[in-house]
């Protein structure tokens, strides 16, 4: 009998040389994280669905591979490390000494429409810093993120910074009856609807920044802090193109009027960032602050983290 070597859509086998390359890259990243004082956690690929119910958005629910176990329990394959880590650590936080620095590596599995470049299984490494409320946490985590990217991704790196809720004031203040649609238009940089509904947002669409910082209302001070963080990181990583673009994260609102049913992974509630390597519009990694995630799981700790797609980074290296 002849057996086909075909695999299901969205998964791939790495054989020989490609396996060796990924293990090497992974080894270098692990050494970097351990050198920075981060300890490894190994998480299961399978978990109950129930702890995540309250965290899921319509979009992230659609990405989950869910099924009923033989004993009737609803289970899901791991689609994202951060909430899994948070839900496992939340009940243990009282017994742990903070700050806590952890890293992980492994596969996440998400349903994606069948399209070039979109895998359903992909390999991530990531790191999280728990227990630091001030901006030294963003600084430390972003430095580690940039160090990992510059070591593995080489030149042509772009890191875009923003923060959740940056545009809430502008979106809610301009009197449109559908601020979520307006946020989506800003994220797509659609000038027509923005000019019609909120001309003050045009500057954000074009340049990534408001015409005047005070246009952001109460978020203006957050922008000031982000500018300082950007300057600090740009001095340390001159080879990386670091920009602030609040439109890129327009759908990361904080006000409940904007977040209900929003499509994006919604646990970030502070600084957010994503990195592009080379030409692809698919980011190689990203992260941010998610203090409220633990709160929703019944614990209290500030947290900042990031994840990287090792395959997308390697693709970039090989394309050079």
């Amino acid at each position: 009998m002849r057996v086909s070597a075909a695999l299901p859509i969205g998964v791939a086998a790495l054989l020989f040389e490609s396996a060796r390359r990924r293990r090497e890259a992974e080894g270098r990243l692990v050494a970097l994280f351990e050198g920075a004082g981060y300890s490894e956690v190994i998480l299961p690929i399978l978990d109950y669905l129930e702890p995540y119910e309250a965290l899921l958005t319509a979009a992230s629910r659609g990405e989950l591979y869910r099924f009923i176990d033989r004993d009737g329990e609803q289970l899901a394959l791991r689609a994202d490390f951060t909430p899994m880590l948070a839900r496992l650590l939340a009940p243990r936080l009282g017994a742990l000494s903070l700050p806590l620095r952890v890293f992980y590596r492994g596969d996440v599995i998400r349903y994606e429409e069948e399209r070039a470049g979109r895998q359903r299984e992909f390999y991530q490494v990531g790191a999280e810093l728990l227990g630091v409320a001030d901006e030294s946490a963003e600084s430390e985590v972003l430095r580690l993120f940039l160090e990992a990217l510059t070591r593995e991704g080489g030149s042509g790196l772009q890191v875009v910074l923003g923060f959740a809720g940056a545009l809430d004031h502008l979106l809610l203040d301009c009197g449109t009856d559908d601020p979520r649609a307006l946020a989506a238009a800003v994220a797509r940089r659609e000038r027509g609807p923005v000019r019609r509904d909120c001309p003050r947002l045009l500057a954000v669409v074009e340049s990534g920044l408001p015409g005047r910082p005070e246009d952001l209302g109460p978020a203006a001070t957050d922008l000031e802090r982000l500018l300082a963080l950007r300057d600090e990181l740009a001095a340390a990583f001159p080879q990386v193109d670091l920009t602030i673009d609040l439109a890129e994260f327009a759908r990361h609102g904080r006000d409940p009027r904007l977040t209900a049913g929003s499509g994006e992974r919604s646990y970030y509630d502070g600084v957010v960032f994503r990195a592009f390597a080379g030409a692809s519009a698919l980011p190689v990694g990203g992260g941010g602050r998610y203090d409220s995630l633990f709160h929703r799981l019944g614990a209290e700790t500030p947290a900042v983290g990031f994840s990287l797609s090792v395959e997308r980074l390697l693709e970039r290296r090989e394309a050079k």
Partner: protein, 207 residues
């Protein structure tokens, strides 16, 4: 050097007219079978692609930006920036059939289309159901020859419909040619892309 993907289809003339009105791509001659044309003066390279391939090329950054119909953007659901829509060359994505009525509430029909995802979304709020028959061209023939009761397809002037005794039952979406931009390219070439967009706006060829 920045790369622009232009469609081979009906949106090509519309796109070229808009760019030229804005004083852009004046030296461009897309002739015959050339797939890749360089315009060194404007520091731009122009790719000639099939409409349906443009979103993939732009999302992967093989092209930095392109022109593509909003009908395809809605169907393919790519992660692209869409700064402006061209004013000319508008059309409609419509339900068409042999009679002017929508299928009766509770009925189950067959619907022929090139846009199965858009069709499924459209059906969500309908009191009637449909089995989607995905075709790649000459969609009008499907209701005409009873492969399907209705079709979801582009209507431009409506002349094809009239000639074939078909009618436009309902407009599902307005369709425009859109300027689309790769997310990473927008960060890298922001000044140049914003200048192009501003010139298109100043020439009043976009809305």
């Amino acid at each position: 050097m920045i790369r622009l993907a232009l469609p081979k289809g009906r949106n090509l003339e519309v796109a070229l007219a808009a760019f030229r009105a804005a004083g852009l791509l004046s030296g461009l001659e897309l002739s015959g079978r050339s797939l890749l044309v360089q315009l060194p003066e404007e520091e731009i390279e122009v790719l000639s692609l099939k409409d349906w391939d443009i979103p993939v090329y732009v999302e992967h950054g093989v092209a930095d930006f392109g022109i593509v119909g909003s009908d395809l953007l809605a169907e393919i659901d790519g992660d692209l920036l869409v700064p402006v829509r061209l004013r000319e060359g508008r059309s409609r994505l419509s339900l068409i059939g042999r009679a002017r009525e929508l299928p009766a509430p509770g009925s189950q029909v067959r619907l022929a289309t090139k846009y199965p995802n858009t069709a499924r979304r459209m059906l969500e709020g309908r009191p009637w159901g449909a089995e989607i028959v995905e075709l790649s061209g000459s969609i009008e023939l499907a209701p005409l020859l009873s492969l399907a009761e209705v079709a979801l397809d582009i209507v431009q002037t409506g002349r094809t419909l009239v000639e074939n005794d078909l009618v436009e039952i309902e407009t599902v979406a307005e369709v425009a040619a859109c300027l689309v931009v790769n997310r990473a390219s927008y960060q890298r070439h922001r000044a140049l892309l914003n200048e192009w967009i501003s010139r298109l706006e100043a020439a009043e060829v976009v809305a």
